[in-house]
């Protein structure tokens, strides 16, 4: 399931599982995913969030309470429905940006698309879906470029049947210079 995930994204999910076990959760929820991301990708997130408070107090802010009954790390903890949706959104975001991998940024985008306390908290700390999308799309992959040109080619191709063999190109030649260069 996680073969397209970057090392960072995998580790974030690993930490999310750990957080779920610490808080005695039966499921890995979106809150745990956020805690995992905060732990794994601190440098990146520090540049995006309004201040550092979230790193220290995220669990409290999310209303998570440490449980006396920690779930053993050997027990398989399933993802909650919301968390599953977040992973689906993450894959969609990667797809949309033309990225072949799913990284921590895509997970964060996924969290911002799932309504709930985690999204509210992230927005409160200055993260907006549109802004993050832009940041994530700053580098356009060769795959995206190929797709854009393929789309253009498809649109353009439909018109080619209008070209009679004898039709000549519009050769625009209006002298550019008014004086010798």
């Amino acid at each position: 399931m996680f073969e397209r995930y970057t090392e960072k994204a995998r580790r974030a999910i690993f930490f999310a599982r750990y957080e779920a076990s610490q808080f005695g959760g039966q499921f890995i929820g979106t809150s745990h995913l956020l805690l995992g991301l905060l732990r794994e990708d601190r440098a990146r997130l520090a540049g995006l969030l309004r201040d550092d408070e979230l790193f220290e107090n995220a669990a409290v802010l999310l209303g998570l309470e440490a449980s006396a009954e920690k779930v053993s790390t050997s027990v398989d903890i399933p993802l909650s429905h919301e968390a599953k949706r977040v992973l689906t959104y993450a894959a969609e975001e990667a797809e949309r940006l033309g990225h072949s991998h799913i990284g921590a940024d895509h997970l964060l985008l996924g969290l911002l698309r799932e309504p709930g306390p985690v999204r509210d908290l992230l927005e409160q700390y200055g993260l907006q879906l549109s802004v993050l999308r832009e940041a994530a799309s700053a580098t356009v992959s060769p795959l995206t470029n190929r797709r854009i040109v393929a789309d253009l080619r498809a649109q353009f191709g439909i018109m080619l049947n209008r070209l009679e063999p004898e039709l000549e190109p519009a050769v625009v030649y209006i002298p550019r210079t008014e004086k010798a260069q």
Partner: protein, 437 residues
């Protein structure tokens, strides 16, 4: 203030050319928080202003632009002044001569105070320049000024000066004019010299003015193109004028409403508004994109260092290199067909009227806009109604026509047959007067 108003003050000696330039420079220093300029040529401007004052004292009057401060998009060659194109590629480029239009405006008495910021190499419409800063919209600095002539638009919209020079390859004069609520004029292809203007796409590049009103643009055209007086007066009515309401498809509701209201005004002025079938703008846009990508690729073929470019421009250059020879030639053949279709269209209408951009100025961080429920890329949306005109070469004028629900201006685009500049000025001024009430 407009060119005419400033010119009147200079003639009345209520302000000297030197004082006007000093005032403009100080104003820029105090108020320009919009990242409008890449370089300011204050001392040079003051030296010229002194000459202009001496000339006036000696009875030599160069006309309406005598002593008027203007600015030049940093794509125009200026002798001895660096011309960066908003890029790292040209960051140290100092031309040995002035572009022909720069020389002409100078001869007409205009005084350039500097070179304006733009979308990197003029290839884009956001003017979010990664090397020289993001140009902000003076009407709301959280929003795009548009581009690529963003800095020129910001200076006019910010009321620093009445006219600045821009270029338009796929909407780069009209889009920022629309977003900033000013007038922007793209003249007929070839009417204004492109000598000494860094090219982006040879057969689509146009030089034109951005002005505080239609008259400012018309006066600038007189200075830049010469040969004809484009500054025709507004008409009492527009009886006999055939206005084609070009089908503009998906536009934001508030933009559509403002444009409909402008059309009603035209109709009340006596014009006949016709629903004419216009050739498909989407098809022409696709054709224009093929032409532009191929021509830009030709110019930047040797620039292979990704680090020299912003991400968005680099992506476009990569796309540009994928266009094949036969595609470029076939795009030019399609251009022949569109030309013929438009020649036919101009037999039944005098001007085509529609929105300039389907939305008002987006927020800086917006990558996409949602128009009538459909999400699209900001660049593609902003150029959807203007790009095709560059493929044809027809003259087009954008003027403000009311406000959107966000309080930002809505741009109205008027298109005429080749060399129909005077028609656009007449209709533009008449409508402008009426909309101002």
């Amino acid at each position: 203030m407009t060119v005419r108003e400033l010119a009147a003050q200079i003639r009345a000696r209520t302000i000297s050319c030197v004082e006007l330039i000093q005032q403009t420079l100080q104003d820029l220093q105090e108020r320009d928080k919009f990242c409008s300029l890449i370089s300011v040529t204050g001392e040079q401007a003051l030296a010229i202003a002194r000459e202009r004052d001496e000339e006036l004292a000696a009875g030599k009057d160069r006309g309406p632009f005598h002593g008027i401060p203007i600015a030049l998009k940093d794509l125009f060659y200026t002798r001895g002044v660096k011309t960066t194109a908003g890029s790292l590629v040209y960051k140290d480029f100092v031309p040995k001569y002035d572009a022909t239009v720069v020389e002409r405006l100078h001869n007409a008495g205009a005084i350039s105070i500097g070179k304006t910021n733009l979308h990197e190499i003029a290839f884009g419409i956001t003017s979010k320049n990664p090397h020289y800063g993001f140009v902000l919209n003076p009407l709301d600095p959280k929003r795009l000024a548009g581009g690529s002539s963003g800095g020129s638009a910001a200076l006019v919209a910010g009321k620093f000066l009445p006219m600045a020079l821009g270029t338009d390859t796929g909407g780069s004069i009209r889009v920022p004019a629309s977003f900033c609520g000013i007038a922007g004029f793209k003249p007929t292809y070839g009417l204004v010299s492109r000598h000494g203007v860094l090219p982006l796409a040879f057969s689509l590049d146009h030089v034109g003015p951005l002005g505080s009103c239609v008259e400012d643009c018309a006066l600038a055209l007189n200075a830049m193109a010469g040969g004809e007086d484009y500054n025709v007066p507004a008409a009492a009515d527009l009886k006999g004028l055939r206005v084609g309401r070009f089908f503009f498809g998906r536009v934001a509701e508030d933009v559509g409403a403002a444009v409909e209201s402008a059309l009603e005004n035209l109709s009340e002025l006596g014009a006949t508004v016709l629903n004419v079938p216009t050739p498909d703008f989407a098809e022409m846009n696709a054709t224009a994109r093929v032409v532009q990508l191929a021509e830009t690729a030709a110019i930047y073929v040797n620039h292979t260092d990704k680090a020299q470019f912003g991400d968005d421009v680099w992506a476009l250059l990569e796309q540009a290199h994928m266009i094949m020879g036969h595609e470029y030639v076939n795009a030019q053949r399609l251009r022949t067909i569109f030309r013929q279709e438009f020649n036919e269209l101009w037999r039944s209408v005098d001007v085509l009227v529609g929105p300039t951009t389907p939305m008002t100025a987006p927020l800086l961080e917006q990558n996409t806009v949602t128009i009538q429920g459909e999400e699209e890329n900001v660049r593609m949306a902003a150029t959807r109604l203007v790009r095709a005109v560059n493929l044809l070469g027809e003259p087009a004028l954008s003027i403000p026509c009311g406000k959107g629900s966000d309080g930002m201006p809505v741009g109205l685009q008027l298109i005429a047959a080749p060399f129909g500049e005077a028609t656009l000025v007449r209709v533009g001024k008449t409508l402008e007067e009426r909309l101002r009430g």
